[in-house]
Symmetry: C2
Subunit: 162 residues, 2 copies
């Protein structure tokens, strides 16, 4: 297989209709639709979503949302990082490297990444080079946070332990 | 069916072993296990988890984690509320009212509740009397927050809109 091409997704009616094929569809997508309908956002404005197409069909997606350094409770030194959520490949396209391609793309942007490993996906995230945090109930609130550290970045947990 | 009895779960090796039957098992549970092994918590100390047993077997659980009023970004007036997460019924016990019994128990405690509706469970939460928030990307970060308001409590979104 040639390397799948990861594209930034633009907010428009086609994208939002395609999002309905994904299991994780909710208030975020509905809010994007409302903003589009109310002309609060323009057609084809940038979204935090990235995806992979098979021809015309969106078959995998993820959101990469930049979190401002002032809210950073995971990385040292505190810095702007990406929260990666809604990584999902449509069922018939799984086990073909599309999820991996999306995560590799996210890493290529060079910023630290935090995700929430769900439904026992821990082995996938470890294979992708992510590490589990030291669970902090007040910060993590039931999540299962895994982080990816680019060179020169530490986790706040490790930094405090030094 | 008689009304299922909801019990507060205590942290001990039996509970933590039973947690492994649930799909959402991760850093939070592993951290509880480590604390128990390291004698940081005592056997049978209180946990944020509540559950339902069939005889000796834990068949349903949820976590109700109190969030301090100073972190409240959902309710007005700002107050201590519960985050409800990891609501899960073992597969062979689904569609028998156990999930409903857990949520009704949470409501009986009288505090506002916030949860994250996952995998298109929106209809379930609406049936339980929860309402969706107005999605705020900085606060909600890809979540699908639904809230339950006891009498006299408003959502911060509605209060700001007044």
């Amino acid at each position: 297989m040639s390397k799948p091409e990861v594209k930034r997704l633009y907010i428009n009616y086609k994208t939002l209709e395609e999002f309905q094929q994904f299991r994780e569809y909710g208030l975020e997508e509905l809010s994007m639709l409302e903003d589009l309908q109310a002309n609060i956002v323009e057609d084809d404005s940038e979204s935090p979503f990235y995806g992979i197409y098979d021809g015309n069909r969106l078959i995998a997606r993820m959101s990469l949302y930049p979190i401002d350094a002032k809210y950073d409770r995971y990385f040292y030194p505190p810095q702007t990082y990406y929260e990666l959520w809604k990584l999902e490949v449509l069922p018939e396209y799984r086990k073909q490297g599309y999820g991996t391609a999306l995560v590799e793309y996210a890493k290529s942007l060079g910023k630290p990444i935090k995700t929430n490993s769900r439904c026992r996906a821990d082995e996938f995230w470890k294979k992708m080079g992510f590490v589990p945090v030291k669970y902090n109930p007040i910060r993590d609130r039931g999540e299962n946070p895994y982080i990816w550290l680019p060179e020169g970045v530490e986790s706040q947990d490790d930094h405090q332990a030094e």
